[in-house]
């Protein structure tokens, strides 16, 4: 039932859409990271505002993706912006929550020592807090990335979608091979991203596995 000639004939399309899928994901996760990072740094000392912002992000997170796209299209049309607004929106809840948890996981005594030795606020954030929060931050990035890889499919409905487009085309032309190729590549991308980020996370936090003996 897999027709290799179909794959061969559509190789340029599959390649382009794979890269597009990757690009949509990376832009969404990086954009989400920047936005949630700035938000967290600005609000983290004010628990009420933290509750408000994370509450808002969690509401966004619960909106069904189709409904969100339908809501956005009249505002931002069938554009890249529309796709990314939706994708970024879904990452914010996961990333914000993990950034906050990561910063909260930094040992208090390390912070007190940093203050007592004369770290300024900014230097303390980048040289002490962020490195120590990395295990949870990277965990958040993994979840957000895998989630986004799945969600990118849905943006096929507004003309993007990466591998979602390949599957949609296969569905429209009753071409099972294309459907299968889109499916397999999406799953493979998700798995690779998960494994790759997991490896990266361990590589940049050698201290987290250091034990006595």
């Amino acid at each position: 039932m897999i027709r290799w000639d179909v794959i061969q004939g559509n190789l340029p399309l599959i390649g382009t859409k794979f890269l597009e899928h990757l690009a949509l994901t990376v832009v969404a996760v990086v954009g989400g990271l920047v936005i949630s990072g700035i938000a967290v740094v600005l609000i983290r000392d004010r628990p009420r505002i933290v509750a408000l912002v994370t509450g808002f992000f969690s509401i966004v997170y619960t909106i069904p993706s189709l409904a969100l796209l339908a809501f956005l299209v009249p505002l931002t049309h069938l554009s890249f912006a529309t796709a990314e607004i939706a994708l970024v929106g879904y990452t914010l809840f996961i990333l914000t929550r993990n950034l906050l948890a990561g910063l909260a996981s930094v040992p208090r005594d390390a912070l007190e020592a940093a203050d007592g030795m004369g770290y300024g606020r900014t230097r303390r954030l980048w040289q002490v807090e962020v490195p120590l929060a990395l295990p949870l931050i990277v965990a958040g990035i993994r979840i957000a990335t895998v989630t986004t890889i799945g969600l990118v499919m849905v943006t096929a409905l507004i003309g993007f979608g990466g591998l979602g487009q390949v599957m949609l085309r296969g569905y429209n032309f009753r071409n099972d091979t294309l459907v299968l190729v889109g499916f397999v590549l999406t799953v493979a991308l998700g798995l690779l991203a998960d494994l790759g980020l997991g490896w990266l996370g361990r590589a940049i936090t050698p201290w987290s596995r250091a034990r006595a003996g």
Partner: protein, 388 residues
């Protein structure tokens, strides 16, 4: 390099609360001379840690001023001030993501030292605190034992050779055996470094052991007494201080003083082979009823009772019937007393490094010392001088 630290009428109140709120400090005025260790001690909530943290401005006083080397710390830029003060806390607070070497280099890095100078300093400090740069330098804190982490904490605080160090229960998180070893190492280090150190503890024994000066604080942040350990043990200023230092304060004073600072009682001695008639005449004239038999090098062999000394002939080793504990000048009075209580003859023989008799000390003389007040004590320069 050290600087005097002065508290002038320092008060810390917390908003909307009485002065007795835990951590408050009320009108604290003390001066810690350059190069001395001042221990702030008291029950929890007495404001000792607050007082410490006001020195590096982790907490700002409500009123009053703190001077380091005569300069008001409020006029210093806060991060500059902190980089010039060593800071050690109970949980150590090493950065888990940095190696031991990187941790120790923290303040030099903040001060912008170049890499070569930092590495040289780090290796010297790791060695100074009794670890090995080649072994420990590239490890992470999680790979060290509790005692090793505490040592690294001290090394990190010393990194930029600060004139003043603040130590907040620095040995509180390790077991008693390791704690005692760290305390002794620290006293040895301090004997060379001579930093001005403010040291917080809730343990009066640690305060007495570590402090040149001890500030006893009570709940409400009031200074109950400020003085040398010997003064505080000998003359507690109030019932609170007396209770806090404990009913065994006489015994604690004994632990502060060494045998060498007592006036030793001369021993009546005779060598093996000496004429016993002559020895007998000398011992009968002495109120103490035992003759100490010694060998040719003046090393003690044993006691001979007054009546057992023959009227004529030569003294022999077999005449000695009992021996008592040998003490050297460095033995603390507390240890000496413990040895004497168990001994057959409750007189300690003080010997020098070669084992030769220097004199005698009795259990009664030691207990009498424990009862005397500080002004009458024979220890010159206070008890700590005799400890160092």
């Amino acid at each position: 390099m050290a600087a005097t630290v002065t508290f002038e009428h320092v008060t810390k109140r917390y908003p909307g609360s009485a002065a007795s709120r835990p951590g408050a400090v009320e009108d604290l005025s003390i001066e810690v001379p350059a190069g001395k260790v001042c221990v702030l001690v008291g029950p929890s909530g007495c404001g000792k840690t607050t007082s410490l943290k006001m020195v590096n401005r982790l907490i700002e006083p409500t009123s009053g001023r703190i001077l380091i080397g005569g300069e008001d710390i409020a006029s210093r830029e806060v991060t500059d001030l902190r980089r010039s003060i060593g800071y050690v806390i109970q949980q150590v607070g090493l950065f888990p993501h940095q190696t031991i070497g990187e941790n120790i280099a923290t303040v030099p890095r903040l001060l912008g030292w170049d890499a070569d100078r930092r590495r040289e300093r780090v290796d010297a400090l790791i060695t100074l605190v009794g670890l090995d740069p080649a072994v420990h330098g590239d490890r992470f804190p999680a790979q060290l034992s509790g005692g090793e982490r505490q040592r690294v904490g001290v090394a990190r605080a010393l990194a930029a050779d600060p004139p003043v160090m603040l130590m907040d229960e620095p040995f509180g998180a390790v077991d008693p055996i390791v704690r005692e070893r760290l305390q002794n190492e620290f006293l040895r280090l301090q004997a060379d470094l001579a930093k001005t150190i403010l040291f917080v503890t809730h343990d009066i024994d640690e305060a007495i052991k570590m402090g040149d000066l001890v500030a006893v604080m009570e709940v409400g942040g009031k200074l109950a007494q400020f003085g040398t350990p010997d003064e505080i043990l000998a003359n507690p200023a109030s019932d609170f201080v007396a209770r806090f230092v404990g009913a065994d304060r006489g015994l604690k004073r004994l632990a502060l003083t060494r045998v060498e600072s007592l006036d030793l009682r001369p021993a009546v001695t005779a060598r093996v082979g000496d004429d016993s008639g002559e020895a007998r005449r000398r011992i009968v004239a002495d109120p103490f009823e035992f003759l100490l038999l010694v060998d040719a090098a003046n090393r003690p062999i044993g006691w001979i009772g007054q009546r057992q000394v023959p009227a004529s002939g030569a003294l022999t080793e077999s005449m000695a019937s009992a021996m008592s504990p040998l003490l050297d000048g460095k033995t603390t009075l507390k240890d000496a007393l413990a040895m004497l209580i168990d001994a057959e003859v409750q007189v300690g023989i003080v010997v020098d490094g070669k084992g030769a008799v220097q004199g005698l000390v009795t259990a009664d003389e030691i207990t009498a010392y424990g009862r005397r007040d500080a002004s009458a004590s024979g220890a010159p320069g206070g008890a700590m001088a005799s400890l160092r």
